[in-house]
């Protein structure tokens, strides 16, 4: 089969899978396996298509029979280099998440919910993501975007019985639609000028608008940026994220953080690379995007440090990490006209961080969900020492935490390092970037602190679970996704060039020719060491293998020193100054862990109460049938019955009187007839 058929086949297979899973949803395990196989097969096909797009150029699937003449649009799927990158990420994460779901969704807390609202919707969601990533027509883009919002909304409110879940869903629904509304408005403005909705036609229109009416052009770009920022979870537009990620089932939180958020990043790249030509505007908007990114990484990560709920902590970090991505992308766009090599580096950095964040955040959500699956609680204060019962999960969580904190040797380090290098070196031309870079480096240390807390409280320390908790590892089907994601975290950390090359291809083919320097002139020519050569000589370098080998050597030396004295080991109880205390008495709780520091930043994330909308009271009253029909009727009936009861209860003379009166009446009736 050629690539274009494969893409269609994958979409059709997912559609068929969605229908089948509706009918077999009662068989919870079978349904999970069917969904997994469907996702796996279509992911393989999608990956093949994406790989073709990356190596030989865009793959086009025209579907001209879907034509909307009113808007002059016809459906066509185009997988270009940029969407190929995002499709590969989506395919991988969806596969992991659907495998993880099989057992996870059978946890006791989900037993009461029907799976018709899980697997079919998940497959439809996958279709919508693939479509969003591969249409090049604004009308269809918005349609699939909306479809994606609906499907993800249904999955967010999966535990609909809990009030906090439905309120989180409502927040998400409103925020997403405000965002979509902005994009629709922007599209209408553009359509009124262009008369067509193809990306290429819109690009020409934007080029004209930038010269003829720059205010309109800025408005359009601004509306698109707001729309995509809402989906990506950039503050202040991403206020819905913590509640939604916490409410969604763990496996879907992984998908949301791993690929749904990334569509916001994809959207911004599309706006600035496909919809608008490179101009002065790009620089201005680049700086603004970087500012938004920095603000959200700063605020969200410091807020994450104060959380005690493991999924809340992870979702605030999601906002923070997307901030890094936007910082990289923004710096790249800002520098595009000033220094193309630096710009390409920063864009690749942002894109690379998007991919890496997909891997490690999904991994962390899977690990945190495994901990919740096993213990049944979410508060980190009530967990501890899970390493002793769930070693593989604990190791995966450690890999994910080290990656997100950017420890050298893991993937997060490489992309953060590129972002830091891009902003610091970019500061020579745009000084504000340096301050953002420093904020990002500082926040990187905060991230580390907060994940040390996460690991320390959940996986390390003393084992502390209730007697009802089974003391064993989570099932294999929940371990495999974590291990697979973890392997990629390490692979991209040790051999960054493997990942940087395709990302460079994607970025450079999206840019006009004169803005795309060669790979070697940006990242150096060594396959093992990344040598940044931005000012002529090497101005930054990271050779994971050489440095890690040296580090291993140092480790061997340290081990030799450790063993030198030949000391014996003996196990002893904890020393509490000679007194004996039960462990619960001396346990140091999460919330006091970083108290002085948190007190300093306590008010950084202002929580604004949701405004209560004034609702017309008549409508409310009319809708409330209980109040004006049922209860009045009930009260009337009660009153009549009370009167009747009085005639039958009370003294027996009255009752006798009734009998006599009744008998008299009967006699009269009988004799008068």
């Amino acid at each position: 089969m050629n690539s274009s058929t494969l893409l269609l086949a994958a979409l059709i297979l997912l559609g068929v899978g969605a229908v089948i899973t509706v009918f077999i949803a009662r068989y919870r395990t079978l349904c999970g396996y069917v969904a997994f196989v469907v996702v796996l097969v279509s992911s393989v096909w999608i990956s093949l298509v994406s790989w073709t797009a990356l190596t030989t150029g865009p793959v086009t699937v025209p579907l001209n029979f879907v034509t909307i003449t009113a808007f002059n649009s016809s459906l066509e799927f185009v997988v270009n280099e940029l969407s190929a990158i995002f499709l590969l990420l989506t395919a991988f994460i969806m596969t992991c998440a659907s495998l993880f779901s099989i057992r996870y969704i059978q946890a006791p807390m989900y037993q009461r919910y029907s799976l018709t609202r899980y697997y079919p919707i998940l497959l439809l969601f996958y279709i919508s993501v693939i479509s969003v990533l591969s249409v090049h027509n604004m009308l269809f883009f918005l349609c699939f975007w909306e479809f994606m919002t609906w499907t993800s909304y249904v999955l967010v409110v999966f535990h609909w019985v809990e009030p906090e879940s439905s309120s989180a869903g409502l927040r998400y629904f409103i925020a997403a639609h405000v965002g979509t509304g902005c994009m629709v408005l922007a599209t209408i403005i553009l359509y009124s000028h262009a008369g067509m909705l193809d990306f290429s036609a819109l690009r020409d229109t934007m080029a004209q608008l930038m010269v003829s009416s720059p205010v309109t052009a800025h408005t359009v770009i601004g509306l698109f940026v707001i729309g995509f920022a809402t989906k990506a979870g950039i503050l202040p537009f991403g206020f819905w994220i913590p509640a939604a990620y916490r409410a969604a089932p763990g496996a879907f939180s992984a998908v949301m953080a791993g690929c749904l958020e990334k569509l916001g990043v994809y959207g911004v790249l599309v706006v600035f690379m496909l919809l608008t030509p490179v101009s002065r505007h790009t620089t201005v908007w680049g700086v603004w995007i970087a500012v938004l990114g920095t603000a959200s990484l700063f605020v969200a990560t410091l807020t994450a440090l104060q959380q005690t709920d493991s999924k809340h902590l992870l979702s605030f970090h999601s906002i923070g990490q997307v901030g890094y991505i936007w910082l990289g992308v923004g710096a790249g766009l800002a520098l595009l006209r000033i220094s193309p090599p630096l710009a390409v580096m920063a864009l690749v950095a942002g894109l690379f961080h998007a991919i890496n964040h997909g891997f490690f955040k999904s991994l962390l959500f899977c690990s945190a969900s495994s901990a919740v699956y096993r213990t049944g609680v979410r508060d980190m204060d009530k967990m501890g020492g899970l390493m002793y019962i769930m070693p593989v999960t604990a190791v995966s969580a450690i890999v994910g935490s080290l990656s997100i904190s950017g420890i050298p040797g893991f993937n997060g380090f490489v992309s953060k390092w590129l972002i830091f290098a891009g902003t610091i070196m970019g500061g020579l031309s745009i000084p504000s970037l340096v301050f953002m870079g420093i904020a990002a480096i500082f926040i990187s240390a905060v991230t580390l602190a907060s994940f040390v807390k996460f690991l320390g409280m959940v996986f390390l320390g003393k084992l502390e679970v209730g007697p009802e908790v089974e003391r064993r590892e989570v099932p294999v089907s929940m371990i495999i996704p974590q291990v697979a994601l973890g392997i990629f975290c390490i692979l991209f950390g040790v051999l960054p060039v493997v990942a940087i090359k395709p990302l460079y291809t994607a970025v450079s083919r999206m840019l006009p020719g004169n803005y795309a320097p060669t790979f070697a002139s940006v990242f150096g020519s060594s396959p093992l060491t990344v040598n940044l050569s931005l000012t002529g000589t090497a101005s930054g370098s990271w050779g994971p293998i050489v440095v890690l080998v040296a580090f291993a050597g140092c480790l061997a030396l340290a081990y030799f020193i450790f063993r030198m004295g030949g000391a014996q080991t003996r196990t002893v109880p904890m020393w509490l100054c000679g007194e004996e205390h039960p462990f619960a008495e001396v346990r140091y709780p999460v919330h006091s862990f970083l108290l002085p520091f948190n007190r300093l930043f306590a008010t950084i994330y202002p929580s604004i109460p949701m405004p209560r909308l004034p609702r017309p009271s008549t409508i409310l009253r009319a809708l409330n049938i209980d109040d004006w029909l049922y209860y009045p009727g009930l009260r009337l009936g009660e009153r009549i019955i009370r009167v009747l009861r009085a005639t039958h209860a009370g003294n027996s003379q009255l009752y006798m009187l009734w009998v006599i009166v009744g008998a008299a009446l009967a006699i009269i009736v009988l004799f008068t007839m």
Partner: protein, 297 residues
């Protein structure tokens, strides 16, 4: 050759200089005789042979001391110590900062895994100190990066030697000197360990070779930080022939460490909130330095 120099200086120079400080500075201030100069080595070797008492069966606790020492040694391999550092072509200032951070994280891990309230409290303090002190190092290195146009630490040192002192580099150097005391865990900023208060904080449950490795890592850390300050921000004494370069570097770090030792011995310990507000001041000084660097001064 340079591998041996950097590792040797970090591993042997650290305890030796600490011994010098104890004999020459501390004992003199206290008007007493003081221990022999190589007393730190006696302590380390004695600890290495002592029984290793484990209060928690965790693997993390077993390997944290080794990783901490190894990370400091790796950072030492990236630090210019009078000559081009052996790993200079494969890692830059950001890699260096992260290795320093790894060592700090290992101390924190050790504290967390021990699960004693003292160690947990110490670990929390260690994190907070790291979070306020780390930005100073980063900003100072960024100043040097902006001035030299490179993130590679040897390029920064070379640039400062060729172009001589400039306002921004001097301000950055002063800020780094002000933060040095905390970076190497000396009074008034030894808040995380605080022997008299929380009995060594994260290290309270450690004994024998584990304690020795952490102690050794702390000694080596002094050399690494002093070297960064000396090589990048003090632009004199790098233009000679090779052995003289190294000699000049040794002289500079000895002076810095003696100064740090003097401050250590004449000050009382601060509370953590006092220390944090102090470091916000230092961060501000460093940012002023960066503003100078950005306008080219």
């Amino acid at each position: 050759m340079t591998f041996v120099l950097n590792l040797g200086l970090a591993l042997l120079g650290g305890p030796l200089l600490a011994g010098v400080v104890r004999k020459m500075v501390k004992a003199r201030v206290h008007s007493r005789q003081g221990p022999p100069i190589i007393q730190p080595f006696y302590d380390l070797f004695k600890l290495l042979g002592k029984e290793d008492l484990e209060s928690s069966p965790s693997l993390v606790l077993r390997y944290a001391p080794m990783v901490a020492l190894a990370a400091i040694l790796a950072a030492a391999l990236l630090t210019p110590m009078g000559v081009r550092p052996p790993l200079g072509g494969h890692g830059d200032m950001i890699v260096f900062t992260y290795f320093i951070t790894i060592a700090a994280v290992m101390v924190i891990f050790a504290g967390l895994v021990s699960a004693s309230p003292y160690s947990m409290m110490g670990a929390g303090r260690e994190i907070m100190m790291h979070l306020v002190v780390e930005p100073v190092l980063i900003i100072c290195l960024v100043i040097a990066a902006i001035k030299s146009g490179s993130l590679v630490m040897w390029d920064m040192a070379a640039w400062n030697y060729v172009n001589g002192p400039s306002i921004s580099m001097i301000v950055g150097g002063v800020a780094l000197l002000l933060a040095l005391q905390a970076q190497i865990g000396k009074i008034p900023f030894d808040i995380a360990e605080a022997e008299t208060e929380i009995m060594g904080g994260p290290l309270v449950e450690l004994s024998g070779p584990k304690l020795a490795l952490f102690e050794w890592a702390f000694f080596a850390r002094q050399i690494v930080y002093a070297s960064v300050l000396a090589a990048i921000f003090i632009p004199w004494g790098t233009g000679f022939a090779l052995p003289w370069n190294i000699g000049a570097h040794l002289l500079k770090i000895t002076v810095i460490i003696l100064l740090v030792g003097l401050i250590d011995v004449v000050n009382p310990r601060l509370r953590i909130d006092q220390a944090m507000s102090y470091f916000f001041g230092v961060v501000f000084v460093a940012l002023v330095g960066m503003a100078f660097a950005l306008i080219g001064a």
